[in-house]
């Protein structure tokens, strides 16, 4: 099967329109290197840019204090992939975690995940997030990076009803459609990114065909 370039192009255009960054990678290893590189050069706590110096109530401040190191989470990588990424992270003094995200609620720098599917029409990632650690990695991270094989891009959400229907038939399922970063326009209709979820979404497009 040859890659559907029109579909990839639509997906890219729609995702970028909502602030997602699209990065093309030739292999998972290239994606790992990219992730570690971004983590290394980003500020230790990105919220600094916009508020860390503003004092908060005691409890909120105390929670913020719990995050000191650079932390990346990669909950749904295979064991070998995880150790590949871990090696790269170690060189840059980045702590890579796989689980127990519950003790990192103040935030992590990067949540690195696979995406199961994508929807070109809206630039959307579809991620089965039934695992709580996976779910939290995409919620409490400042940057969410998702590795997406181009073969998983569908034209519209309706093309996925069968696959998603199968997930939802399980006793428990948490399916996430993710499009761009977390956003709000609740104050004066001014767009602001990163209100409760990630401030940035990076989609690492993997040529798998």
């Amino acid at each position: 099967m040859t890659p559907d370039h029109a579909l990839i192009e639509t997906f890219t255009e729609k995702a970028e329109a909502v602030s997602a960054r699209i990065i093309r990678v030739a292999s998972p290893m290239e994606a790992f290197t990219h992730a570690a590189g971004v983590c290394d050069t980003k500020q230790a706590c990105q919220r600094l840019v916009s508020g860390c110096e503003a004092s908060l109530s005691e409890k909120a401040d105390a929670l913020c204090e719990t995050k000191q190191d650079k932390v990346m989470a990669a909950p749904n990588l295979s064991d070998t992939a995880f150790s590949d990424l871990e090696k790269i992270c170690r060189e840059k003094s980045i702590r890579l975690i796989k689980d127990n995200l519950h003790s990192h609620l103040a935030g992590i720098d990067i949540g690195f995940t696979w995406a199961d599917w994508a929807i070109a029409e809206t630039g959307t990632l579809v991620i089965n997030s039934t695992s709580e650690d996976l779910r939290l990695s995409t919620m409490v991270s400042e940057i969410h990076m998702a590795l997406l094989p181009v073969s998983r891009i569908k034209a519209s959400a309706l093309d996925l009803t069968e696959q998603l229907g199968a997930w939802m038939s399980a006793p428990a399922d948490y399916t996430a459609f993710i499009t761009g970063a977390s956003r709000t326009a609740d104050i004066e209709r001014v767009l602001a990114l990163g209100v409760h979820g990630p401030l940035e979404l990076h989609i690492l497009l993997l040529e798998d065909n």
Partner: protein, 718 residues
């Protein structure tokens, strides 16, 4: 929230809102930005088909509501979800409080839910000693201010960054800057620890899928994801109307919902939750999951032949976004808890007649909401129905009864108009305006000059026209003219211009003398039986005529005759055929000239005046005629400069401008600013009501723009 008990109290609150400068500016900006964003979001898509699909899907689901509920419940219970059905708001609140108590929960985080607003859940939970925190930024802001939302999607649209900064300074105990991005991050950090501490999360749901017992949530901030993930207990409060058979149905609805709400192709997050998911803080490592379905009148409503469509609403808020009244007064005045056109209706069903009785009168009937509704709901029609119903259930105000009686008796009505014409002599000025308003009007009505009643109504002029050769020898399409009372008695020259144009192009005209007011004013006042009676008379008046078309130069009459007459007789099989034949013949003047007569371009070489156009609501939306007037203006050789927001209401609304003069005058001021910006010397439109409003406003404001009915402008270029 509606606390006003009388219309007078309500009006005084409306006046206060009109003076809220920040809100006015915010809503005006939004009203101008929204249509552009929406059009972009739907670019290249068939909007009408998508909306019809939503209407069909929701309509079918509503027709089998009980069955879908049973299916959802069975599937959910099999997966270990606790399903509850609450008959009303109180029961829903009690159920949720009991879940918290049984689960020994003390702290609750909430994501946005209009259904929880409907039941006033927070108040109830707080009264039980629970700490409840709204985590949607807008909802948190209004919670801290102890007020309700002013928009269903943007609850804090009425507040400025300065107000938010003050609020956040109080909450954090330290001074906060007013930069919006900083304020957003303050909320992020303050609320994060609320998520960490909470032991119960309450969400709403946009969809409840019966076949897999899945709930779907559409959000942008991502707070609903944390609400449904971190605390060990999750309660979803869901209106029964959110039930759909399958995921595919929800995906179809979700193609329209975000585009119509905020102009987004999709929200940042759409979350589908099925069954108790893994949760580290749960006792068993799993979430305790409850779904509380709320009836609160929905099951009965779903069976109502007229009103069941109310439940098709997907809560996109678009009906407020385009409402000219909302734009002026905001959500606290145009709703109780639910806001906008759907709010006026939902208030009656969910919160009762007392909360709805003033609100339903504050609809200008421009039809902008109906044209934009994601589920194709006939919002203005239903608002009028409820207004009439409330008057039937309580008392009809004397003024409205008298109006109904008067309109129902043509000869009495016309005699009164003739008497008024004689009585106005001392105050009638030569330019056709009244020198000052008759004493029955208050000062508030003084924003526009009102026209005097014409000395000779059109019906007195017709016998002369009838005898001319042009009338007798015409061989073109047969036209029965429907005048409407404003043109007949106030602006007969508009009808004469129209007659001259139609005759010039060969139309064979008749004017049945038994016709009277179309009855729309009675509908607007909630006098449905009077409206029916007038309609019956007009249909009979035209019945004997051998005619191909019923042409009217008043857009409001046209759309009332064409679309409301068949509805008025929907339950009268004896009349139904007659009324439908009548309605099928009704055509607006510009449509008739452009599409039936197909008039040619003028041969006149003289340069045309710089002309702009105001699209009457009942023409561009009521009759769906958006092109003909512009084409006619060009064909007449006039220099056409379209105005911004051409299709936005002028603020007349018939009896609306009498009842809410302050709102009417503000809508007019916005309209006139757009007209002025074109630099046109001539403003044309196609409705005598719009002429009255625009000409009167221009006269008062001293602008130098001539206002004409399109027929008058065209006849000059013959």
């Amino acid at each position: 929230m509606q606390t006003a008990t009388t219309l007078k109290e309500y009006k005084s609150e409306v006046d206060k809102a009109l003076n809220n400068k920040f809100q006015r500016k915010a809503l005006d900006n939004f009203a101008r930005a929204y249509p552009v964003a929406r059009a972009n979001a739907f670019a290249g898509m068939e909007i009408d088909q998508l909306i019809q699909k939503v209407a069909d899907i929701k309509g079918q689901a509503l027709s089998r509501l009980d069955e879908l509920y049973a299916q959802f419940k069975a599937n959910a219970e099999q997966k270990g979800i606790h399903v509850h059905l609450a008959a009303d708001a109180d029961e829903a609140n009690r159920i949720i409080a009991a879940i918290a108590k049984n689960g020994q929960a003390k702290k609750v985080v909430k994501s946005k839910s209009m259904t929880a607003e409907e039941t006033l859940l927070n108040h109830h939970l707080e009264a039980q000693g629970l700490e409840v925190t709204e985590t949607d930024l807008g909802e948190w802001i209004i919670q801290l201010r102890h007020e309700g939302p002013t928009h269903m999607v943007m609850p804090a649209i009425h507040l400025s960054r300065y107000q938010v900064a003050d609020l956040f300074s109080d909450v954090t105990g330290s001074k906060q800057e007013t930069e919006i991005e900083r304020l957003v991050k303050v909320a992020r950090r303050e609320l994060r620890q609320k998520f960490v501490e909470a032991d119960m999360g309450v969400s709403g749901a946009n969809f409840a899928l019966a076949d897999t017992a899945t709930i779907g949530l559409t959000t942008n901030e991502g707070n609903a994801r944390l609400v449904t993930t971190l605390p060990r207990i999750h309660v979803a409060l869901v209106g029964l109307d959110k039930l759909l058979p399958t995921l595919a149905d929800a995906l179809h609805v979700n193609r329209v919902l975000p585009r119509n709400a905020t102009g987004q192709a999709i929200t940042s997050y759409v979350t589908w939750i099925t069954g108790p998911n893994p949760c580290a803080s749960g006792e068993t490592g799993k979430k305790e999951m409850h779904i509380v379905f709320l009836d609160n009148g929905r099951r009965a409503l779903a069976k109502d032949p007229v009103f069941s469509q109310v439940l098709r609403c997907v809560r996109c808020g678009a009906c407020a976004n385009v409402c000219p009244v909302y734009r002026m007064v905001g959500g606290h005045q145009l709703g109780h808890i639910y806001i906008g056109a759907i709010g006026l209706i939902a208030t009656y069903f969910f919160h009762g007649r007392d909360k709805a009785k003033n609100l339903v009168q504050n609809c200008i009937n421009c039809g902008a909401c109906k044209a934009v509704c994601a589920a194709g709901i006939d919002l203005p029609g239903l608002i009028k129905e409820i207004h009439a119903r409330i008057q039937d259930e309580t008392d009809h105000p004397l003024s409205s009864v008298l109006l109904g009686k008067l309109l129902g008796n043509r000869s009495l009505f016309h005699t009164l108009l003739r008497t008024a014409q004689k009585a106005q002599a001392p105050v009638a000025k030569k330019n056709g305006f009244m020198r000052h308003l008759p004493l029955i009007f208050s000062k508030a009505h003084n924003f526009r000059a009102l026209p005097a009643i014409a000395k000779f109504p059109f019906r007195d002029r017709w016998p002369v026209i009838k005898k001319t050769k042009k009338t007798a020898r015409a061989t073109g399409p047969r036209v029965a003219l429907f005048a409407g009372c404003v043109q007949d008695f106030v602006y007969p020259e508009q009808l004469e211009a129209g007659v001259a144009l139609m005759q010039h192009h060969g139309a064979a005209l008749s004017f049945p003398m038994d016709q009277s007011c179309c009855g729309l004013p009675a509908m607007m006042m909630g006098e449905k039986s009077a409206a029916r009676e007038v309609a019956r008379r007009n249909i009979l008046a035209m019945h004997g005529e051998k005619t191909d078309h019923i042409v009217t130069l008043c857009a409001s009459c046209a759309s009332h005759l064409k679309h409301n007459y068949p509805k008025l007789f929907a339950d009268d099989p004896a009349m139904l055929n007659t009324v439908q034949r009548f309605a099928d013949k009704v055509i607006a003047f510009s449509t008739f000239m452009n599409d039936v007569i197909k008039i040619p371009e003028t041969t006149s070489a003289s340069a045309g005046t710089k002309t702009t156009y105001h699209a009457p609501c009942h023409l561009c939306r009521g009759m769906g005629e958006k092109k003909a007037p512009g084409e006619l203006i060009r064909k007449a050789g006039l220099d056409f400069v379209p105005a911004k927001e051409e299709e936005t209401c002028c603020g007349f609304g018939g009896s609306f401008s009498g009842k809410f003069p302050q709102i009417s005058s503000q809508i007019l001021a916005t309209k006139l600013a757009d007209i002025k910006a074109t630099g046109a010397e001539l403003l044309v439109t196609e409705c005598p009501g719009c002429v009255m409003q625009l000409r009167g406003g221009i006269e008062k404001s001293g602008m130098n723009i001539d206002v004409k009915h399109i027929a008058e402008a065209m006849v000059k270029r013959l």
